[in-house]
């Protein structure tokens, strides 16, 4: 009965609040005809020699790391909870609760760093913040209200877990989880609107005078590509962080049962990370294509100017992620007795992953001395030069994704023996799909070398569709073929300690990668706060050297890793009882 009151309270709250939100979002602009502020260098406060840019950059990046994590984990926590309802297996429910336990420890830190970011922006960039508040008006208040709602739903979702665990109550609990995720995603979309507005402003005149509605400013050209990219990246990132936690617990625990649990948790987290990661490059391509469409100059700054070199580092990090994820999957083959029969394929997959990695890191233009240019006979290497352009890189990344999926498929198959009479034929259909699909990806890559640029760019789309076709086609055939399959025992916990370090590599490489790409995205505005509308006249309105940028990004990454170790330790501390007090409530 009390629960009914509780739900009724929320329903009433929503009924009152949502129309207010809608009205604020659709707020018709009071036409403000003055343009964007033009602050002079003197308008930027200098306080105790603090580098305002580095402070705001660090705070924003740290907030984004934590926010990505606390927004993503509830998404797959509710999916895991749903699995427990479908399968009736309590292990899923326990794991979902454990996912949330880590989030709880990180949530207050997210708010704390978010507050720090807001303060540093208000103190050091008052004119910019004043202008953004004018553009987005009531939406800023909506954000604050949503943040409150997010906190309430998050706490209720976690603390009501045991009270709403069985029967119909489980559905109430999942409804709260659904509300939590809806609010969380909306928060992210709102924040994305501000970041993307600074890159591709809309709803304003060329001088910055506000002429449109809040919705027009929100729905700027880069908003949706950024939404999709961040949504997928958050899933992959959240999975990687939780995988790191599972590896930490696997290595720390001595109890066999707990080791089995954390091995399973590590496997599931790695699966989630890969699931989010596979479509991520495609979302990235869309974002970059939209950047080019919005401003060719901005696109060239990213891919052909000073920032282009950072994409080589990006390739190194993504290659590291691919290698680590695959290594973990290959190690997992030892969990099943049939797994050994698949190990003979590992070396071939490794060749493709490493080969793809090397193609991806091959730069187009080399930094050379005069002597080196003379010896080479030009600025491009005769054999390796062609690998520096996009058709080669698109081909490499698609093949790496296809073979990563194959690694996963091998592990999945290793614990299931099909019983249907047409299993051999179905296998042949899958093999043919891989053969023709891979030929199509490679063919489309070669096509890019012999056709005009517009066709070269266009050919990357069939490559993406081919990769997705291989994955979706294989999954569909596997689902039917393995229906009623004989299950082999999976020996959870039968993993080397070495393999767990692959799970540590993933969050570190992901964090570094996000820091790097976040820096690139933000730097595309060059010396503008709001691109082409409001100039940055501070003393730090320049793109730092690659070395300086790399050091700052690495520093932030290390700081975040320290925070995560603290969060993991905190979660473990919460479950630790002093000797002799085990029975205490």
């Amino acid at each position: 009965m009390r629960l009914t009151y509780f739900i009724a309270f929320f329903a009433t709250l929503f009924a009152f609040v949502v129309p207010e939100f809608a009205a604020a979002a659709a707020d018709v602009a009071e036409v403000v005809l003055e343009g964007a502020p033009k602050p002079s260098r003197m308008d930027y406060p200098l306080i105790a020699g603090i580098s305002a840019r580095t402070l705001a950059w660090s705070m924003a990046q740290m907030h984004l790391f934590l926010a990505a994590f606390v927004l993503a984990v509830p998404l797959f926590a509710i999916a895991t909870e749903f699995m427990s309802v479908i399968t009736g297996d309590d292990r899923f429910d326990n794991m979902a609760r454990e996912f949330m336990k880590i989030t709880m420890a990180a949530y207050s830190l997210t708010a704390l760093v978010g507050g720090g970011l807001l303060l540093s922006l208000l103190v050091f960039y008052p004119h910019l913040m004043g202008y953004l508040i004018k553009v987005f008006r009531g939406q800023m208040l909506i954000y604050a209200a949503l943040f409150g709602l997010e906190s309430i739903t998050l706490y209720i979702y976690f603390y009501s877990w045991d009270a709403l665990r069985r029967g119909n109550r489980k559905y109430y609990h999942m409804s709260i989880g659904l509300l939590l995720n809806t609010v969380g995603l909306t928060l992210m979309f709102v924040a994305n609107a501000w970041a993307s507005f600074m890159m591709s402003p809309a709803g304003i005149a060329p001088d910055g005078a506000i002429t449109g509605t809040v919705w027009e400013a929100t729905r700027n050209p880069l908003w949706n590509p950024l939404n999709l990219h961040r949504f997928l990246a958050n899933i992959a990132y959240g999975g990687a962080i939780v995988g790191g936690y599972a590896a930490y617990m696997f290595l720390s625990e001595k109890d066999k049962k707990l080791k089995e649990h954390y091995d399973w948790m590590g496997y599931t987290s790695n699966f989630i990370a890969i699931l989010g990661f596979i479509p991520l490059p495609f979302a990235g391509y869309w974002l970059m294509a939209e950047i080019y469409a919005y401003s060719q100059q901005m696109g060239i700054t990213a891919m052909g100017g000073i920032l282009a070199w950072l994409f080589i580092i990006q390739a190194v990090l993504i290659g590291t992620i691919m290698l680590a994820a695959n290594y973990y999957l290959w190690s997992g083959l030892m969990r099943t007795d049939r797994g050994a029969q698949y190990t003979k394929y590992v070396k071939y997959i490794a060749v493709v992953i490493v080969g793809g990695f090397l193609v991806w890191v091959t730069p187009h233009t080399l930094i050379l001395t005069t002597d080196e240019i003379q010896n080479l006979g030009g600025t491009h290497h005769k054999l390796l030069g062609p690998l520096g352009i996009m058709p080669a890189k698109n081909t490499a990344v698609n093949l790496m994704l296809v073979f990563t999926f194959l690694s996963f498929q091998m592990f999945y198959r290793s614990s299931r023996v099909p019983v249907v009479s047409w299993a051999k034929s179905a296998n042949m259909v899958i093999v043919a799909l891989y053969v023709v699909g891979i030929a199509n990806i490679v063919g489309a890559g070669i096509y890019g070398y012999i056709t005009p640029t517009v066709y070269k760019v266009g050919a990357s789309v069939p490559q993406v569709v081919t990769t997705l076709s291989i994955i979706i086609g294989s999954v569909i055939i596997d689902v039917f073929m393995l229906r009623g399959a004989k299950s082999e025992k999976v020996h959870w916990g039968r993993m080397t300690e070495r393999s767990q370090y692959a799970l540590f590599v993933l969050p570190v490489a992901f964090t570094w990668l996000m820091g790097l790409m976040g820096y690139i995205r933000s730097s595309l505005r060059t010396n503008w706060h709001v691109y082409t509308v409001m100039k940055d006249n501070s003393s730090e309105a320049y793109i730092p050297t690659l070395g300086d940028a790399g050091n700052t990004i690495t520093g932030i990454t290390l700081a975040f890793m320290a925070v995560m170790v603290f969060v993991f330790w905190l979660s473990r501390l919460g479950a630790t009882k002093q000797k002799g007090t085990e029975g205490a409530v």
Partner: protein, 61 residues
């Protein structure tokens, strides 16, 4: 008699396995042709859908 029967059984089993292998390869060849047609259709549709006209050989026209 036992030996003969054994041989007979073995031969049949071998024949059956050969048929199975043949069937498997027939399926493989048919699947190759089917998937090739599928990807050809996909490639052509996507290129034309992007406003990039291509001929039957998928080359720009």
């Amino acid at each position: 008699m036992t030996t003969g029967s054994f041989r007979f059984t073995t031969k049949r089993a071998k024949d059956k396995s050969k048929d199975g292998k043949m069937g498997k390869y027939v399926v493989f060849v048919v699947a190759i042709v089917g998937w090739a047609a599928f990807f050809y259709f996909i490639d052509k549709s996507i290129m034309q859908g992007q406003g990039l006209p291509v001929g039957a050989d998928l080359m720009p026209v």
